[in-house]
């Protein structure tokens, strides 16, 4: 079973990126939300592994503010 890893990179301005590996399905959303906390989302993207269970291979780009 693939390990589920989370990599958080915090840049020099204090903004962060969160990279999830080994996750599939809706679990991704919860993990991203956990690490987002009070922060404002600038980019969120789901990749192929996310769609393994739904059969949809499209990438999804969301740019949103809170």
């Amino acid at each position: 079973m693939q390990q589920k890893t989370i990599t958080v990179v915090i840049d020099q301005n204090g903004n962060s990126s969160v990279d999830l590996e080994g996750f599939a399905g809706q679990g991704c959303d919860k993990v991203l939300k956990d690490f987002q906390g009070d922060d404002r989302a600038r980019v969120q993207r789901k990749k192929a592994a996310f769609y393994t269970k739904t059969g949809d291979s499209r990438d999804q780009h969301l740019k949103s503010g809170q």
């Binding site: 990599t7 020099q12 301005n13 204090g14 903004n15 969160v18 906390g37 192929a48």
Partner: protein, 137 residues
């Protein structure tokens, strides 16, 4: 990779802000109801802040630096033009946010049960980046 997100850090937690400032070498005061900032002449200014770095810890001609909590719960920095000109500028505020976000990330990971795997500081032309790695149970 199964998902990716980029987030703009919003400072809302007083404890983490104070811890971040402490890590940067400042002794920050906390005032639940806010306290007035003091100018370089010792003059009491009209601005109030909830987290304050007193000017004695800064340059001899500095004013206090404050972080005021807004109605939305977010802390915003109160900095004089002089202090911005001597280095307490956007780059310095970026470091404050970076220290805050590191602590916030570690605190969230701990509370949610993610396992910390390590920290790495990556030097880039724009400044150091902090890389934190976790695994999910």
């Amino acid at each position: 990779m199964s998902a990716y997100g980029e987030f703009e850090t919003i400072m809302c937690e007083e404890r983490l802000l104070v811890e971040g400032l402490t890590a940067m070498g400042y002794r920050a005061e906390v005032h639940a109801d806010g306290d007035a900032l003091v100018g370089y002449h010792g003059d009491v200014r009209h601005e109030k802040a909830h987290v304050i770095i007193r000017r004695a810890q800064l340059d001899s001609a500095s004013n206090d630096i404050g972080f005021a909590r807004g109605a939305d719960g977010r802390f915003r920095a109160l900095l004089s033009e002089y202090d911005r000109s001597i280095g307490y500028n956007d780059q310095w505020l970026g470091k404050v946010h970076q220290h805050y976000k590191e602590r916030q990330t570690l605190a969230v990971a701990k509370s949610k049960g993610y396992i910390f795997r390590g920290k790495e500081v990556i030097q880039t032309p724009n400044g150091p980046q902090i890389r934190l790695q976790f695994v999910a149970r």
